[in-house]
Symmetry: C2
Amino acid sequence: MNTIASASAVRKVHVPLGERAYDIMIGPGLIARAGSEIASRIKGRKAAVITDEHVAPLYLDALKASLDAAGIASADVVLPAGEKTKSFEHLINVCDKVLEARVERNDYVIALGGGVIGDLSGFAAGIVRRGVRFVQVPTSLLSQVDSSVGGKTGINSRHGKNLIGVFHQPDLVLADTDVLNSLSEREFRAGYAEVAKYGLIDKPDFFAWLENNWQAVFAGGSARIEAIAVSCQAKADVVVADERENGQRALLNLGHTFGHALEAATAYDSSRLVHGEGVSIGMVLAHEFSARMNLASPDDARRVEAHLKAVGLPTRMSEIPGTLPPAEMLMDAIAQDKKVKGGKLTFILTRGIGRSFVADDVPASEVISFLKEKHP
Amino acid sequence: MNTIASASAVRKVHVPLGERAYDIMIGPGLIARAGSEIASRIKGRKAAVITDEHVAPLYLDALKASLDAAGIASADVVLPAGEKTKSFEHLINVCDKVLEARVERNDYVIALGGGVIGDLSGFAAGIVRRGVRFVQVPTSLLSQVDSSVGGKTGINSRHGKNLIGVFHQPDLVLADTDVLNSLSEREFRAGYAEVAKYGLIDKPDFFAWLENNWQAVFAGGSARIEAIAVSCQAKADVVVADERENGQRALLNLGHTFGHALEAATAYDSSRLVHGEGVSIGMVLAHEFSARMNLASPDDARRVEAHLKAVGLPTRMSEIPGTLPPAEMLMDAIAQDKKVKGGKLTFILTRGIGRSFVADDVPASEVISFLKEKHP
Ligand SMILES: NC(=O)c1ccc[n+]([C@@H]2O[C@H](COP(=O)([O-])OP(=O)(O)OC[C@H]3O[C@@H](n4cnc5c(N)ncnc54)[C@H](O)[C@@H]3O)[C@@H](O)[C@H]2O)c1
Ligand SMILES: NC(=O)c1ccc[n+]([C@@H]2O[C@H](COP(=O)([O-])OP(=O)(O)OC[C@H]3O[C@@H](n4cnc5c(N)ncnc54)[C@H](O)[C@@H]3O)[C@@H](O)[C@H]2O)c1
Ligand SMILES: [Zn+2]
Ligand SMILES: [Zn+2]
């Protein structure tokens, strides 16, 4: 499945999901080419573009001009930026606008934005007329390397994040790497945590390459494209092996159990912690906990921490501004996220860099004493 | 695919959809057996039962007792009866209650009611946690022979009926034929129109059998069970051939193009017209129009009308209480439902009883002059 082509500056990763197969294009200038890329693959000639208030002034006109040039009529919806937009309220609004634009089953919804816009628009595309076509134009690093690939869509409920949604694969993903230049450094770093994650799951060479090349990835150019392409390929491989998340797809949650608990503990207040920062701290904790369980060497945890610290990501709970709740409450959040069966938890642990695995018998008592040590 | 077993009074129709395969059980006493039938097939032991205010006082306690006896814990939600319940407002409420009941991916939503409850609950089951299991306990004749089979779920939008939803197949359908005794005669007859439809699509012998046995079907007992089983089998066959409605599944819309136009023309006011009544008039119109196009004999149209009239269904537009809008406006409703391409419409026409087919080149001009004749 090594389908990364390097003929031009634009890389292509194919996601071979049978009749739901699709391409991910990664490289510069893709928004300007969006119309022709879409028109050459999908029959319909009507689109509803969903975006947010930060992205719209930067890229909406360029995207619409490109669609127009390809003979695609487009309506657009500009939503507030931020996680709160993943709600039923906005879903209803988007569905209504998509129907108003007379988007039929072979026409498409286009998500232009980060993971919030992608998750919400993909959900709308999955339920309008029981499914219309869907194109992702991810604009944040996180959405380019993670959320735009794999077909998970959804919104949040008062019972928790992403609890309402569908699996709805996109028909095409256009990751324009130029647009990352307008992303804040903090958001870029947060997305980078997910890039590093793919190395830590099962690509030790990629992790080593990142240790040597991360500055080039941050600077842009071919190293950035390479890092994004490897990440998309890694995610695609996992998705193809387990489309509906019944097993191995769980590996993608490396660092996320601790990370989610920290996000919950900071009430999803992005001024204190954004998702990728939680994942960064969570991955260090996962490596340290694995060392504590004598599964991996403490040197690996130190190496992971050193790299994430070098790129400017937080790696310790104590770096989160404000007061964190006590370890017991973090444990409650973990137990809710994961369900404890007979005192045992399912967790992504590791035997070393790039050697992660799904452990389904982690004693809750070990996790809590570990957390108390880390956050006395 | 002739899988109707006749060992006991309960019939079973298997729907062979690969990993989404399921059974439809049809017969007396199934609500009392629901707990054990479910427990023997599905792993989870938690259920959220969704029902309406008419059905709840009649059957909710019996269903819950049966679940309880099988060790299944259940929460319940009682909604207002009627088409208006197929809305985002109620969907949000149902999703919330399902999450509150801590229904996980192997637990289930149970729809206890007619097509309204089935469509709404199935949609909720399809999106909570990106899909939990789903059991249909259809209580109207229409839902037993039509809406509970096939996996179409959804709600209405201000842009039209059933425009928002997902395909989400049930894991089990339990059609308890006893509960039809409490259904109003009018609702029973409306459901019967769909039973007759299966004969008219491609089962001339079944239609002839209905002509001779309809009184026994209305009375209950084995003829009723037989009619429902044949109908479920017919629907299952079409669904298996075309799960996501890309082609032949359209045959199920025999009589529905005219029927939907009449429903729209009466503003979905059930005191004037319910769905099955619109389908009854629509099927007669479809046969008359086919005769007018020299495809079928006018005798077939007369035979269809005679039978539907005999069971007490309306067969003429003039029987609808109140004033209908002029033919031109009915035509507008048809054009909106179907989309006119170059003056041509897709329509289900027939070459005679049980010989329906999908025609995609019906001149709109012919339809309008036909309608003007029928409704001057
Ligand atoms: N579906 C999945 O598989 C999956 C996987 C991981 C995360 N997610 C979801 O993704 C969301 C997080 O995604 P995100 O980090 O992209 O969040 P986001 O969409 O909120 O984007 C982050 C911020 O960056 C801004 N932005 C985006 N692109 C920009 C650009 N090119 N220039 C300037 N500003 C830009 C946005 O307006 C926003 O303010 C979460 O809701 C998470 O649940 C989904
Ligand atoms: N999903 C599909 O494939 C599909 C197919 C056809 C129709 N539908 C949908 O089904 C709906 C119509 O279904 P319906 O006719 O069952 O409507 P319904 O659910 O409104 O039921 C009709 C009435 O009968 C009552 N009722 C139901 N069972 C009863 C019983 N045993 N005793 C006494 N009263 C009872 C209900 O409370 C309601 O008042 C429409 O919304 C239509 O769009 C869906
Ligand atoms: Zn993540
Ligand atoms: Zn119908």
